[in-house]
């Protein structure tokens, strides 16, 4: 990443300051306004040791956090533009809360690194509808998808 500053710090801050994101070991990278999330493989993520396969709960949590992170990033980009190009120091956006999510498990997740991206299909004043996809070796071979509604900041 070439871009630095408050927005990148915000994403780094999420992965270092939120315990559950640290627990899963997630890393985020931003290209333009698109976040790619990475869940590096570790044995603690396994749900079926016989195959082996990732735990569906770990994959699900990963998809959910990817959506939240994309929404937070979008909020920050909006706030940045509104504030005239710079985020104030100590900027902390309100975390979106999941209302409902449906996960589809398409293939078993192997004992490998997993990637995910979220597409915000509609962002309203109170609710955002998001689609999320996760894959491993090949982008075209998705291991899981999800779609969900998230409550944005002030509506709670």
């Amino acid at each position: 990443m070439t871009e630095t500053g408050a927005h990148s710090d915000l994403l780094d801050g999420l992965s270092s300051s939120i315990p559950y994101i640290r627990f899963l070991g997630l890393v985020f990278e931003r290209r333009g306004d698109e976040i790619t999330a990475l869940m590096p493989y570790k044995p603690d993520l396994i749900g079926n040791p016989l195959l082996p396969a990732l735990h569906g709960g770990a994959t699900g949590a990963f998809l959910e956090i990817t959506a939240v992170t994309q929404l937070v990033s979008d909020t920050a980009l909006g706030d940045k533009a509104a504030a005239g190009g710079e985020l104030p120091e100590g900027y902390a956006p309100v975390m979106p809360k999941p209302i409902d999510i449906t996960f589809d498990y398409l293939r078993s997740g192997k004992a490998l690194d997993t990637y995910a991206r979220a597409l915000v299909q509609r962002r309203g004043r109170r609710v955002a509808n998001v689609r999320i996809e996760a894959w491993q070796e090949e982008r075209s071979k998705l291991i899981a998808t999800a779609h969900g509604n998230f409550l944005l900041g002030s509506g709670a």
Binding site: S17, I18, P19, Y20, I21, R22, F23, L24, P43, D44, L45, I46, G47, N48, P49, L50, A53, L54, H55, G56, G57, A58, G60, A61, F62, E64, I65, M95, K97, P98, I99, D100, I101, T102, F103, D104, Y105, S108
Partner: protein, 159 residues
């Protein structure tokens, strides 16, 4: 791991043994999940409150994903211990979760799951998660699992 295999596929697995194996899976174990009961073909699990699983530092509320993982594990356990069939393996097909309210910070989260229909290939499950009282659910879930199973005598052929 072979122990798990024996427990899940040995044919002599008790519901409790299956439940213990499910919370003993690496990710469930890392999160600290515990088995509460596997009576009447239903499963109750518990996720002790842990600072490591917090998703909102300002409030101390657990990450929604932690509830997802608990409900997924609980649903899977319910499939294995359901009375209707001898299941030898399962995989989640889909899982829908509705988040009713945040899990109370500092409180353990309980989950109850019931497998209400098993066909030759598919098991249907519903589940509920709560902290203090079941009347105030944190989340509800509805899931479908693909299953491998030992066919039962005189069983209807469908799905």
């Amino acid at each position: 791991m072979t122990d798990l295999q024996q427990r899940l596929t040995g044919g002599v697995a008790t519901p409790e043994g299956i439940g213990v194996a499910m919370v003993g899976l690496p990710h469930s174990n890392a999160m600290g999940m515990r088995l509460v009961s596997t009576e009447n073909g239903e499963a109750v699990l518990m996720l002790p409150y842990s600072k490591d699983l917090v998703g909102d530092v300002a409030t101390g509320v657990l990450g929604g994903g932690a509830i997802t993982a608990l409900l997924d594990t609980c649903c899977g356990t319910a499939v294995f211990v359901s009375k209707s069939a001898k299941i030898t393996s399962t995989a989640t097909l889909d899982l829908r979760i509705d988040y009713m309210r945040p899990a109370t910070p500092g409180k353990d989260v309980y989950a109850h799951a019931e497998c209400y229909r098993v066909t030759r290939s598919i098991a249907f499950v519903r589940a509920l998660a709560w902290t203090e009282t079941r009347d105030k659910p944190v989340a509800t879930a509805s899931a479908a699992f693909i299953v491998e199973r030992t066919p039962q005598k005189g069983e209807e052929k469908s799905a």
